[in-house]
Point group: C2
Amino acid sequence: MKMTTSTAAPDTSRDTSGADQTRLALIQAALKLFGQKGFDGTSTREIATAAKANIGSIAYHFGGKEGLRSACAEHIVEAVSAIAAQAIGPAAGALAGPMDRETARGILHAVAERFVMTVVGNPQAVPFVQFVLRELSQPTTALERIYDGVFEPNHKRFCLLWEKATGQPAASRQTMLTVFTIVGQVMYFRIAREAVTRRMGWADIGAAESKAIAATVCANIDAMVAAAREE
Amino acid sequence: MKMTTSTAAPDTSRDTSGADQTRLALIQAALKLFGQKGFDGTSTREIATAAKANIGSIAYHFGGKEGLRSACAEHIVEAVSAIAAQAIGPAAGALAGPMDRETARGILHAVAERFVMTVVGNPQAVPFVQFVLRELSQPTTALERIYDGVFEPNHKRFCLLWEKATGQPAASRQTMLTVFTIVGQVMYFRIAREAVTRRMGWADIGAAESKAIAATVCANIDAMVAAAREE
DNA sequence: TGACGATAATCAAACGAATGATTAAATCAT
DNA sequence: ATGATTTAATCATTCGTTTGATTATCGTCA
């Protein structure tokens, strides 16, 4: 027999056709599980169950487990691009022309703060970050896509911002490495989340804790900018 | 009904005790493979083959795959403790008493540089770091051991050093977070190694590249210390 | 010292369970 | 009705673990 999939009718009005709905559900479920338990640690059956889909759907829509991983990477690239465009997009236009150093420093603060909130504080972004971090530690073609679509463009933008704030050329080795250290400061709180909460005596890294982290990072940025300007 | 196990006489030249040798070989092989491919991505057969041991040895010596993971964690704790003791151990005695600010800053530099070389530059330390990072993203009892044996004691020491260099109390939230950002700066170059090499146009992160990274981190530390002293 | 017996350790083989993939039939949408 | 999609069942393979037999190690007693 079959149960009437009455439970599957929560909000059919919102989404598109059934096929696309299945694809999206699979991607979201896979993204979450891959992030939580890793690619190898997640079975296709788990994914299908979480997505309320059939196991065969994975092969049908993505060709297999590996194809689903690629689709997840593509999904992340699109999502991050949208977020990034919204975050530092408005300032992108101004980024092309000249800019006051203090203005650039202010934007640097805003970007850093938003970065912290998204990467560390936002529970919804956890699967994304976790997925990327896993891919980083074991490079596949999925990482290739993420690097081209996320890492490089955003790193370049950040370097450009650094140039506006300090005067150091964006393409210099020194600037690029420095930007990496800034990114690392933030990312580490996600990576070593477990160690941080224990050491800090925090039950969780919520909005309040994220704010404290952001303040620390911004203070570091100020100190680094000030030092860089003196050179 | 038995085959003459004539093949079992390849190298009677046993070095140390056979049992401990097998255990160590299994741990080292597992550590390497777990770090490279992840816990779930590594099969017990792979480990046994790499260690030139029998599959059953894993269950015999460690109770199972999970027990081998715990043994790896314990092995790391011991190894890192030895390295840490050698690195900042000599200064541990001086750490208890008063210390000149500039002296503390110098030690800070030395520790950071050594940290970079070990985590990022030393190919032999790769499996260790990779293993820990994987455990961090998926907390198990193995992480518990590593946190208590590695993270907390070293973080505390670093905070104390920060206090000597800046005057800010080691146990303050600000200091602890700042130290995390310093650690994160370094660790990120290992985590995002793939992204870094591509962006920097490096073929690899060797001694020369590690030196450049260390210089950048030390410059950041100087800037942060200077800013912290002014408060 | 030298043989003996107990324990420790290794080994090849096989177990059941779970994996990703595949199939053909059933169902859906247009 | 036809093509797109979902479903249930089955595929071969690989997984971690277990097994019983074999070999190595070592303390004990003659």
